[in-house]
Amino acid sequence: MGDLGWIFISTLLINNFVLAYFLGLCPFLGVSNKLEVSFRLGLATIFVMVVTALCAWILNTYVLIYAPYLRLISFIVVIASVVQLIEMAIKKLSPTLFRALGIFLPLITTNCAILGLAIFATNKGYGLWEGLVYALGAGMGFTLAIVLMAGMRQEVEKANAMPKLIKGFAFNLIISGILSMAFMGFAGLFSSS
């Protein structure tokens, strides 16, 4: 397994952002009731993450070596502006998508998965390519998790059988727990042999 390959598999499956790092829980729990929307949000997240990785690398390489203390602020500001641009673009290109994602597009910005990506990639000292692959893996891992979750939630909501008491967040958290348990099966993948 090459390094890039391992970075990808690792963030996609083993260290899945949602299921192992608890990042991006708000959209994961908030939007995962509709499959279609989840999938689109996933795609949007992949895109924003890749852009973020690019921005983070540029900032790291050209700005932050001179002013490390600006790391957090500059990440936030740059990512927010980029997402703002994307939001405007989506509004123009696909009003349906814009409506479907509703309030969640701005939430992607203040989504800790995005900031977490930038910070983790920096902490790990990833270069440009590594950072981009990391972002791709993280975004796709997020999409995978949220799409699986949405499928399950749609199913159980149709069956509508669960006890009233547990409906809602408690239930979704426990499903996430089981999913996270299932994803533990990927631990150690490609690192044992």
Binding site: A20, F22, L25, Y69, L72, L165, I178
Partner: protein
């Protein structure tokens, strides 16, 4: 005096009745990510508390100068500033804890609880009320973090704040400190809150019914 009462109300609201975690289910990411022990929960809780309090004060003070159009950006900048302050202070004063919490301190910026409070409360209320609110919400968040961290630590390693509870032969429940344990424990705690709430509602109804009969 009435004011005093009010502030107290705000505080209790955040701590229990509208607990940001157990009732409003906000700020889950930092909550789950760091609560594999009570001490980490405490540290994270205090850090968030500080950021919330500081930002609330600043936002409440500056609210009339911030134009509506850029208020979110301003809030974020303010919050990010306080987070940076916490980050550096913690790194300087408590390097061990800082290493444990790792990358999650900067992520306080994204905690929607904090931004939400700025938007919904601090930017619309007096300094005094904002402080009370920040105290309440911060304490509520802190309480949730410590509770969750405590449960996970007790079962996960058989200790609380590093003090062994069950003796050396205890079989730790490893899952509790792993990610699935975080999800499941929080889910079960929410379930418990729902249950308490429902019981209370039932009791209230019963009391009301009895009052009606009398």
């Amino acid at each position: 005096m009435a004011k005093e009462q009010h502030a107290y109300e705000e505080f209790m609201k955040g701590l229990w009745r509208e607990n940001p975690v157990f009732v409003q289910v906000l700020g889950l990411c930092p909550l789950l990510a760091v609560t594999n022990s009570a001490i980490n929960g405490l540290a994270m809780g205090l850090a968030s508390f500080f950021v919330l309090l500081g930002s609330s004060i600043l936002v409440s003070l500056l609210k009339s100068y911030i134009p509506k159009q850029v208020r979110i950006s301003c809030f974020i900048i303010i919050i990010a500033t306080f987070v940076t302050v916490v980050d550096y202070s913690l790194a300087a004063a408590m390097p061990v804890i800082h290493k444990e919490l790792g990358a999650f301190i900067p992520l306080i910026v994204c905690n929607c609880l904090i931004l939400g409070r700025m938007e919904a409360f601090a930017s619309r209320n007096t300094l005094r009320m904002s402080i009370a609110d920040a105290f309440g919400m911060g304490a509520g968040f802190l309480f949730a973090l410590v509770a969750l961290g405590g449960v996970r630590e007790i079962l996960g390693v058989g200790e609380l704040f590093g003090i062994s509870l069950f003796g050396p032969n205890f079989e730790p429940w490893v899952i509790m400190i792993l990610p699935p344990g975080g999800f499941i424990t929080l889910g079960v705690m929410l379930l418990y809150f729902n249950w308490v709430e429902e019981k209370k509602n039932k009791l209230d109804k019963q009391l009301a019914a009895e009052a009606g009969v009398n």
